[in-house]
């Protein structure tokens, strides 16, 4: 994480975090060993992967089709495991 570490003089009062949802800047995709790969032709838009992705790394598009956001995906494999049509496959990240 390339956060600029602030001095005590710059911190908000009362130790709060005043930017809601600012973890959005944090890349957790680096945790990944396996990479989910989606075959959109097999997707039936059931949204199971979107619901179960612990990392909010499945983006739900307007028509309920989905897109994988590798910036956040930690590679747990739940999406591939739960996909009823095997539209998502886990592949080695290094390959």
């Amino acid at each position: 994480m390339a956060d600029d570490l602030k001095t005590w003089r710059e911190l908000p009062v009362a130790m709060i975090v005043d930017q809601p949802g600012n973890t959005v800047e944090v890349e957790t995709g680096t945790w990944r060993a396996l990479r989910p790969v989606l075959d959109p032709s097999k997707c039936i838009k059931c949204l199971i992967c979107w619901v179960y992705c612990p990392d909010l790394a499945i983006e739900r598009l307007e028509d309920d089709s989905v897109k994988i956001n590798y910036y956040y995906c930690k590679g747990c494999g739940i999406c591939a495991e739960e996909c009823p049509t095997k539209a998502i496959q886990m592949v080695e990240e290094g390959v």
Partner: protein, 394 residues
Amino acid sequence: MEVKVERQIRTGLNGDEAVAYAAYHADVDVIAAYPITPQTIIVERLSEFVHDGLLDAEFIPVESEHSALSAVVGAAASGVRTFTATASQGLALMYEILYIASSLRLPIVMALADRALSALINIHCSHDDAYAARDSGWIEFFAENVQEAYDLVIAAFRVAEDKNISFPAIVNLDGFILSHSIEPLYIYEGQDVVREFLPRREPIVKLDPDKPVTIGALALQNYYIELKRAQAEAFEATPPYIRKILREYSEFSGRKYDFIKKYMIDDADIGFLVLGSTAGTMRHVVRKWREKGRKVGLISLTLYRPFPVDDLRDAVKGLKKLVIMDRSYSFGSPYAQLYMDVAATLYDEPEKPDLINVIYGLGGRDFNEYTAEEMWEKINRPGVKKIWVGVRGD
């Protein structure tokens, strides 16, 4: 003392009732408290005010002191005026949350009916509990009498909620000696009067669905010390604001309040320093001793945290000896708690009095003129540094 009696009523209340009236007149919004002697009358009276419809507040009759302080933390974080009260073991159970309330800058006001900590279990006055809170980032006041208990609770709300301060505050009143003793005092005619001194709280931070913030996150090695540095700076910056508010309150009430009180100290050779109700007894004693030709004087602290360093340095000038009276004991420390504050305060002074530490009054042991005389005899022995008085065997 000259008292401005406009819109004030002279009445007789015990210390707990006075505190309850103060919270009522301060129009407190949320109270969470658990019964513990000698604080119980406070929560009983406040419950009555709420149940009789006099005070529009939520009274949360929690299942423990830990939850009492936790609940007021939640309420204070929501932006309203909050109050709790406890003593001794109850404060000990709250201990974890004391630090949290201060770190989150929540202006909770707590009355502490000072009582000795177990074991053995005792319900009477020591300052163990007041001292236990001393490092936690709470402002601490000590009341000498019932009038001060009432006034300081009202002033404490203004102090705690001031935007330049925003720290929680404790008002200490000696268990039983003040909490259960009836004395005359002036109270305001009601909430409308107090509101002129104490407007509605404007929080510096709150849980607001329209402006979400995260309160109480996890801070590790990379941030914790910066956060504490900022908190320390904010706490150390409070004294001028506290003083200003106490002056305003003096004006408002007609009763003078400052960080410390001095009595016959200016030309004294030997000074006595006390907290709480013993200030009254010692004032009486000093008066009598002066009649006997003893050049003695008295200092008592109204503000204990932040410690009134400058005031104290100034007040002890010219003293040959300063007797620091602790109603508690600090096991394993070189001296008891108040002494150590004073010693640190005076260490860098070029000229300072000899210091003597007196331990007295634990668990409600009466401190009276005879005990005072025993103390006089002991402090005048050569080489005395730390003594106990009013204890069999010494």
